[in-house]
Symmetry: C2
Subunit: 345 residues, 2 copies
DNA sequence: CACAGTATCCGAAACGTTTCGGAATTGTCT
DNA sequence: AGACAATTCCGAAACGTTTCGGATACTGTG
């Protein structure tokens, strides 16, 4: 059981003051070369490592960025977040930063988790994801000196760096893809309405339908919570309607997988009897049968970019970049089915 | 820009000493109920959050566990680690612990990263993975008071908690699976030999072959580095031999995916002209075409269990459990092919 | 009324680091 | 010789918290 080395222990061993030891190790130029050599040797001998807590107490950097995953229940297994974490973590690692991961449900006391990170000075910066139309986290952080970047937009007026994918345009494009295949009865499983991306995508869906003179029955829109099982449940509701849809689009791929799984259980031929469209393009979307037609979001790259932007912010590198809006890309797979004869909807 | 609240600021506002404020908030019973109420209200008003660094400096818990991923280059994207991180992260989240992620290549100065975590008191415990036969990290941590648990065994004699999957038995079982299908020319792409699991699996492979009177040509064993591209490269070497193997087994699924990808590029029918076997059973193994025969390891669950064991260790809950050895499970998929007529090998 | 016992509070030290301001020594220039 | 600058070092304060060892005042008891 070794005594942990401190500045004091080195000071005692070498006869120099704690201040001098600190400055020698810190690379300051007001210490004699011989002195520095002696101190460095002793530090080496004791295998000294500075105490990070004490350093931070002085207001120094923690070389750590924080990522709080907002979800009901632990959600590290969600491929969406896996990819996002991978992008963030890898980029942080390159810069020598560690990654502090935490989860919290989007409940009122969620802010406490953020406060803990900020006031506790545990991290040098934060990455937010899954923004809400009205986002208290952003309001809070904007009042703070803590640097942060955001995946997604919000209607909260505040000045911050974000990257988002154009959900309006994306959902409209996907909708028109199905319309062009001859579909008219298109249903949509939407994520909770308070989420920003949910709002934009709904708009895109509605406008695209309207542009083509198609109506959306009210019971064709069902809310899910982004999990596979909620997609399964919603599909069950939709497909037992008197006049069921021929297409089900969902707010994310995970729910689409649930839809496919329900359809297969019901013995429906996906692509043929029921077309399905997702959003995200997570890896399983490619491998499921039939393949899932979806809008591709470069989640991993967004994680990387956001992290780099955050690191720049932490380093106070000047940049006038505030928001980036990326277009998603339509990926057509088997779940789209073939062009169908234009029979009455 | 708000002033951050501290014990001192609350002390100043209420007129009570810092000590009393600390004890009131800490829930000690030597403070008057009225006093406590006043202090709590003021703390609320200032939205006080304790400074974690200062607390840690007193030797308290950081409510954080550390996970250092040993890999060349950032490797968060590796499905193996994704799953492991998910298991660890979710279990930690349930207990209210955060997760500190870091990566480091298994180079000599890798230990510095561990020292930083330990001496800097950044975490309350550490999770190690991908053990080596002779593992300096374990030697180091054993000298320390830092609690730690390990995914994998080692030959280093030390007393520690670990979970491992029986690679000897697993590789032997997989080998015999292919032998039972009529194969005799079986090649193996091994991970770097200094890794413990690599060692055990090689033994399992060799013993199984010996039991059935089959020999392993020296050029049938190639070393890979666990990445998909190294599997691709190794497959290229193996399949260009004068007398190529009819089966390629690999040290992990990622390399097996590389093998399949090479085989498909060469126009070989996987399963038919070349059988492939992996190890791990990561999600893509199920979705690739043809499906990958592999030994299933419950990586996610291992992450959960290890984390719980670590948390118990941190809480100093008594336990006599030291090591668990789990059997992997054979998963047969399309890459095995059919039983083949017993033509000369 | 003296005493112990209890309830309530607080000063000061400690954790390990950084940094401000200055002190001591030596050398350099008129 | 005196003034001045450069070099090298250090004491003390600060960061925000916890905790030890009392201090004070109030209660009830005999």
């Amino acid at each position: 059981m070794m005594r942990t080395a401190t500045l004091k222990s080195i000071s005692k061993a070498t006869g120099f003051s704690v201040t001098t030891v600190s400055r020698a190790l810190g690379g300051f130029d007001d210490v004699n070369d011989d002195t520095r050599r002696i101190i460095l040797e002793e530090a080496q001998r004791q295998s000294y490592e500075p105490n990070l807590q004490a350093r931070l107490l002085q207001g120094m950097r923690s070389q750590t960025i924080g990522l709080i995953i907002p979800a009901y229940g632990p959600r590290f297994s969600d491929p969406f977040f896996s990819q996002f974490v991978a992008g963030v973590g890898n980029q942080a690692a390159i810069a020598g930063f560690d990654l502090l991961l935490s989860t919290h449900a989007p409940t009122p006391d969620e802010l406490d988790t953020y406060r803990r990170m900020v006031a506790g000075r545990r991290v040098d910066g934060l990455i937010l994801s899954r923004t809400r139309l009205h986002d208290a986290r952003i309001e809070y952080l904007a009042q703070t000196t803590m640097p942060f970047v955001v995946f997604g937009r919000t209607q909260t007026p505040a000045d911050y760096v974000y990257i988002d994918v154009d959900g309006y345009q994306g959902q409209a494009e996907l909708t028109e893809h199905f319309i062009s295949l001859g579909h008219q009865r298109i249903a949509y499983i939407t994520p909770p309405q308070y989420l920003t991306f949910s709002y934009f995508r709904m708009q895109g869906f509605q406008d695209a339908m309207a542009r083509h003179g198609l109506s959306i029955p009210t019971d064709y829109v069902v809310e899910g919570d982004l999990t596979e099982s909620s997609g399964y449940a919603a599909a069950s509701t939709l497909l037992q309607l008197e006049n069921p849809p021929t297409v089900i689009m969902t707010g994310n791929d995970l729910m689409a997988l649930g839809v496919i799984s329900y359809a297969l259980n019901r013995g429906l031929r996906v692509g043929d009897e029921l077309a399905v469209g997702g959003f995200d393009d997570i890896p399983p979307a490619e491998h499921v049968h039939p393949g899932l037609t979806t809008m591709h979001q470069p989640i991993y790259q967004i994680g990387q970019h956001l992290t780099q932007a955050l690191l720049d912010l932490i380093e106070k590198k000047p940049s006038d970049q505030r928001g980036i809006l990326m277009p998603p890309k339509l990926i057509v797979r088997g779940s789209s089915g073939e062009v169908r004869p234009n029979k009455r909807g």
